[in-house]
């Protein structure tokens, strides 16, 4: 966090000054480790085993916060008899279909739930009653629907639907209650197993376990912060789930000093998820309608309308969004222009799109502030895709590699790409930096903070808002008078922001007001509870409703901390409803009293019959703690007085996800797609539901190959910004980290003959890169199982342009994706050898030679049950020969 989020890290340092214990878990020793009380090094890609070990420690020692867990989570819920755990099926959950590589979650449900209930099935193509197109074959680009199955985001922010009241056993003794299932599931994640998988010494693991359990409960809370070190894995979603389970068991959710903070990869990535740049959700986590399933608005919202919890108001959120976009043209008679919305036909994620570019299915592309030629997994695949377009628009501050790859990219140097054969017409349009435009950033705490333009953008640079606004104006001018129904969505758009200045900059303030929403009289709304489904309200993003309350830009508030309460509600504005901690009903006990005086946050004021406290209560203001909803109640009416998780249909936090996840109701450790070891936990080596792309550009290293014996992981340095466009062009930053380097331990350096400040060539089945070598004590070999694992650290900021240039580690990363959110796995295996990499055509031959020696084809190796160590001896000896051969070169 100090390394990648130094400004946010000031608060960690302040917490430390107040006595907090800081534990840092990371394969490498970073600037965070330097000031942490304890640094725990582990094998990259083994985090679920580590966190699962903590879950097991809590459960097997009964250290869970029972008074919190029983009423506020689904620990007591009874799961159906059909469910089978990884314990029973050698690492698989019930419902797995090997042919499609996907799960049917029917058997994961609570007892007595009929899976054919439309609420859960509507959005889930793999569920009964929905056409299944999985016959296109496993892993291919055409089987999106199979992998769409159970997409968590498909159900919107409330998560998927379950019946409001599953059967519960509050003694937690029922063998099929979630608590007991969880206990059995994690029982094998012992400290010894953690050592075997992660390389964390038992004593060190126990020190962590004791620290966080001792620091949780009525009087104390523990917070987790994570970044892409957790998310960028083929089991990334389940990794976060494991942390969620742990935090819920310890009672650290919805309470001050608790929570799980996602430190985002860029400024305002939270904002670009809330008002998404993602293909599969609409603003406010409303799911994108599906072409085959959602013919009309009523059908679209039916899955949620009438459901229990606040997500039950989705008709109001969706209708207000349509009214915001299409204004007076959206009427009840035309379904509020629901037909104007684009429709999903499958997975249109980034990597699918790139492969579709290579396959000639995508003709044009906008790159806005993104440099995939350097910053995305399998850089060669990215560049091949960009080279096969008709046109490409690049908007960035500087000329980045994604705009110049056609003339100076790595493939041009190897002869695999010729400038005169690349047909892509590239339009580079300079963009304004954040200091050169007004707008808001939304940070990880869902807080909007406004920034005002400080200087005019240089030259022709314009803000993205200006670019899209004027592009829209021009397109609409061209279409004016058109009678083609296809053009109506554009012509009917509300596209009328006030313009400012000579450059006709549209007002960002007006956009925020539009996002906030307006009522029947045209004045700004104050809260999303005011939204209606009758077309009388407009709102561009329901969760942002209130950001412009009282006609004031609430995000621009900057009242100093010392002039207000410690919750600081008048600094910026946090969604929803300026609430700083979500689900804060859980900061009070079931009776509505604070768990302790020290941790008092929101509580029930019985005298006045209302919830009150330091923050905006995340609960129905007058709902008493002892309230029991009537049978058949829907929407917010169905929320009981002890149901803090008001967006969930059952009001409880889920330790076990009976539906909604593509790869299991509980997390399980699987090895990364490329791993030097067999999975010590299960016979199942990899996440069985992972999305594999067996393509020529994307070969995988064979599992446990001695040709690729080392683990590599990519990461950032404080001195540079992501793919380098904002830092490698600046002398003051470039001089601080002037060359691409790899970090290795002294032991690995000796094993491979690497010298400090010398060169090294790092090779995978995809590509080979070269880097200067830093031999450092901060990289440590790990004892994993019966062997020593070496890790190679690769900061990923470099590319071919700028003041400091170098090879791009993302050229080494394979594309194997998490099935829930389609994110890549940043961990892989590699070889490292001293010296510079081959030049020109010799480079692809070098990589091909490695592939041949590894025995791999261009296709990924399928799942291999891990074998006992003895059984592998023969294979390893064979691979060892390959290594020696490599050394002789």
């Amino acid at each position: 966090m100090a390394e990648c989020h130094p400004v946010g890290f000031q608060w960690v340092m302040e917490a430390k000054a107040r006595g907090a214990t800081i534990i840092h878990v990371d394969p490498r020793f970073t600037r965070t480790s330097a000031v942490a009380d304890l640094h725990v090094s582990l094998r990259a890609g083994s985090d679920i085993a580590m966190l699962g070990g903590l879950v097991n420690y809590v459960l097997s020692n009964e250290l869970d916060f029972r008074d919190y867990v029983v009423p506020y989570t689904n620990a007591a819920a009874i799961v159906g008899e059909d469910f089978r755990d990884t314990e029973d099926l050698a690492g698989l959950f019930s419902g797995y279909d090997a042919a499609s590589g996907s799960y049917d979650s029917t058997s994961w449900q609570y007892e007595g739930v009929q899976e054919s209930a439309p609420a859960a099935g509507q959005r889930d193509p793999s569920q009964p009653g929905v056409p299944d197109s999985s016959d296109a074959g496993a892993g291919g680009a055409d089987d999106e629907l199979a992998h769409d199955a159970s997409r968590s985001e498909a159900a919107g922010s409330g998560g998927p639907s379950v019946p409001h009241k599953p059967q519960r056993d509050e003694t937690l003794q029922h063998p099929r209650c979630v608590y007991q299932i969880l206990k059995r599931h994690f029982a094998r994640y012992t400290p010894e197993m953690v050592q075997q998988v992660c390389g964390i010494p038992v004593e060190q693991f126990l020190a962590v376990a004791k620290a966080i359990t001792a620091n949780s409960g009525r009087d104390k809370t523990t917070a987790f912060c994570y970044a892409v070190g957790w998310t960028h894995h083929a089991s990334g979603v389940q990794l976060i789930r494991t942390a969620s389970i742990l935090q819920l068991l310890l009672g650290n959710i919805g309470r001050p000093g608790g929570g799980i903070l996602a430190l985002r990869g860029h400024a305002s990535i939270q904002g670009s998820t809330d008002i998404p740049t993602l293909y599969n959700i609409l603003p406010g986590y409303i799911p994108m309608p599906h072409a085959a399933q959602h013919q009309g608005l009523a059908e679209f919202v039916a899955a949620d309308a009438g459901k229990t919890g606040y997500w039950g108001n989705m008709p109001a959120y969706a209708t207000s969004l349509l009214k915001s976009w299409w204004g007076d043209a959206a009427t009840a008679d035309n379904d509020y222009c629901f037909d104007y919305l684009p429709r999903l036909t499958g997975d249109h994620g980034t990597y699918t799109t790139v492969m579709d570019q290579i396959d000639g299915k995508v003709k044009g592309y906008f790159l806005v502030g993104e440099n995939p030629a350097v910053g995305s997994a399998n850089g060669k695949m990215q560049r091949l895709g960009l080279a096969n377009l008709d046109w490409l628009v690049v908007r960035d501050l500087v000329m980045i590699e994604s705009a110049t790859f056609w003339k100076d990219g790595p493939e041009v140097q190897t002869g695999e790409m010729r400038a005169d054969e690349v047909g892509t017409e590239i339009f580079f349009l300079p963009a304004a930096a954040h200091t050169e435009k007004s707008g808001s950033f939304t940070n990880t705490q869902r807080m909007l903070q406004w920034h005002h333009k400080a200087v005019e953008p240089p030259g022709d640079a314009t803000s993205d808002l200006s670019f899209y606004y004027h592009l829209g104006q021009r397109i609409r001018a061209k279409l004016e008078g058109s009678t083609d129904p296809m053009d109506r969505p554009l012509l009917d758009l509300t596209w009328d922001y006030p313009e400012e200045g000579a450059e006709r900059e549209p007002s960002a303030d007006a956009v925020l007001r539009e996002v906030n929403g307006t009522g029947p009289e045209g004045s700004a709304l104050s809260a999303y509870t005011e939204l209606k489904d009758d077309g009388s309200t407009r709102c561009g993003c329901w969760i942002y409703c209130g950001a412009y309350a009282d006609e004031v830009n609430q995000a621009a508030r900057r009242k100093p901390g010392q002039e207000q309460s410690w919750v600081a509600p008048e600094w910026g504005w946090a969604w929803p409803a300026n609430r700083r901690i979500l689900y804060n009903r859980a900061s009070a006990d079931p009776d509505g009293k604070p768990w302790s005086e020290r941790k008092a946050y929101v509580w029930w004021d019985a005298d006045n019959g209302t919830w009150t406290g330091h923050d905006v209560p995340d609960f129905i203001p007058d709902r008493a703690p002892d309230h029991v909803p009537q049978q058949g109640a829907s929407g917010p009416d169905a929320i009981g007085g002890q149901d803090p998780f008001i967006m969930q249909t059952d009001g409880k936090a889920w330790l076990y996800a009976p539906t909604g996840l593509a790869d299991g109701p509980m997390p399980a450790h699987y090895e990364p797609p490329e791993s030097p070891v067999g999975n010590p936990l299960y016979a199942q080596q990899n996440n069985p539901a992972r999305e594999s792309y067996p393509r020529r550009e994307n070969p995988l290293n064979p599992s446990q190959s001695a040709v690729f014996p080392y683990v590599f992981t990519t990461y950032r340095l404080t001195e540079h910004h992501t793919a380098g466009g904002m830092s490698r062009t600046l002398a003051y930053l470039s001089e601080l980290q002037p060359e691409f380097f790899c970090e290795v331990s002294a032991a690995l350096a000796e094993e491979r003959g690497l010298t400090h400040l010398g060169w090294a060539t790092i090779t995978t089945a995809r590509n080979a890169i070269e880097a200067r070598v830093l031999v450092t004590d901060r990289m440590r070999p790990l004892r994993v199982a019966d062997r020593v694992i070496h890790q190679v650290g690769l900061p990923y900021h470099w590319g071919g342009s700028g003041l400091t240039t170098g090879d791009s580690p993302n050229d080494l990363v394979n594309v194997t994706l998490d099935p829930n959110v389609h994110i890549q796995d940043k961990v892989g295996t590699c070889d490292i050898q001293p010296g510079r990499r081959p030049r020109g055509a010799a480079l692809p031959r070098h990589v091909e030679d490695y592939r041949r020696r590894a025995g791999g084809t261009a296709l990924p190796i399928g799942d291999q049950p891990s074998e006992p160590a003895g059984a592998q001896a023969g294979d390893q000896a064979g691979d060892q020969a390959g290594v020696q051969e490599g050394r002789r070169r």
Partner: protein, 326 residues
């Protein structure tokens, strides 16, 4: 913040150690020893309080924002793009083009018993021990520290400057005036910390000004402004010294026995630094001299001895002639 104070054209008469003077007030300009009111000593009438830096390295996270902010504000050129291999430190040292420098001290931490008693913990940049790192108790420590001009109470650079390019500001800081500097370079060897440096292509010397221009309008220096963790604290030196003492006590009470202050002591060889530090090890570990002494400390003695020698020589000469006469 103090208001800007005009630099007096003529120096006032030497002050008497009087009733309204604080105890350290001295009757003449000194070259060494404790000196409370450095600005008045330099001739300012009613100067603002002495300002300085307290750099608490125990909370430095090595982000180098101070280095960048300094360069941005002061227009300092880049210092060359060279990978040094010294941990994450590619700036290497303070110099004419680096006025803030973050040191990264990367060392294996051995069990206490194994550490030789004489180990000064000097920063080592060679390859680590290939056998190290596998045992559970084998770790590494990574100390970070943002170094800067110390703005000494007794600044030898200023004392030796023949042109008056280096001067004491009303805030008690030491600043080079680039339009006066003639590039003689006398100040470079005079600095006991090796801070002040000549720009090769230019000849003149450059160093931290403690953002004299920002101070003059009531702003804090750029580095302190940019520091995310408040490792670099700017303020009145007296208050900073008190704050630092409290911080050390706090760290000691929490078992961080290694915490110590560096450069805060008016009794030290430079009369105390205007920019002082909280360190977590011996100064040598951070590349700082353990006992800096103002290089002009002995000038009076030297002149006295030279004078005596001259008088003696004169006497001998005179005696020779006188003797002859006899």
């Amino acid at each position: 913040m103090p208001k800007p104070v005009t630099k007096p054209v003529t120096k006032p008469e030497s002050r008497k150690g009087g009733a309204d003077e604080r105890q350290a007030g001295m009757s003449r300009q000194q070259l060494s020893g404790p000196l409370h009111d450095v600005s008045t000593d330099a001739g300012y009438a009613a100067p603002p309080p002495r300002m300085g830096f307290f750099t608490d390295t125990s909370i430095c996270i090595g982000c180098k924002a101070c280095e960048v902010a300094c360069k941005e504000w002061n227009g300092v050129p880049d210092d060359g793009l060279t990978l040094t291999g010294m941990s994450y430190d590619n700036t290497a040292a303070l110099g004419a083009d680096t006025w803030r420098h973050v040191a990264f001290v990367e060392q294996p931490t051995a069990p206490p018993a194994a550490a030789p008693a004489t180990d000064l913990g000097m920063p080592g940049f060679g390859p680590p021990d290939p056998q190290g790192g596998l045992e559970a108790d084998a770790g590494v420590r990574w100390l970070m520290s943002s170094d800067v001009c110390k703005h000494c109470t007794h600044a030898a650079c200023l004392d030796v400057c023949p042109t008056g390019a280096l001067f004491r500001t009303e805030f008690g800081t030491v600043v080079v005036q680039p339009d006066v500097c003639n590039g003689c370079g006398y100040c470079v060897p005079a600095c006991p910390y090796g801070v002040i440096d000549q720009r090769k292509e230019d000849g003149r010397v450059f160093k931290c000004t403690l953002c004299y221009d920002r101070l003059s309008v009531g702003e804090e220096p750029a580095c302190a402004k940019a520091c995310p963790t408040d490792s670099i604290q700017f303020g009145e030196l007296d208050e900073l010294r008190e704050r630092a003492e409290r911080r050390v006590e706090d760290l000691h009470s929490r078992g961080v026995d290694v915490a110590r202050l560096y450069g805060q002591d008016p009794e030290d060889g430079v009369g105390g630094d205007g920019a002082f530090f909280l360190l977590l090890d011996e100064p040598e570990v951070y590349g700082l001299p353990p006992d800096p002494v103002v290089t002009t400390r002995d000038l009076p003695d030297i002149w006295r001895h030279v004078g005596k020698a001259a008088i003696g020589l004169l006497g001998v000469g005179a005696a020779t002639f006188l003797g002859r006469r006899r």
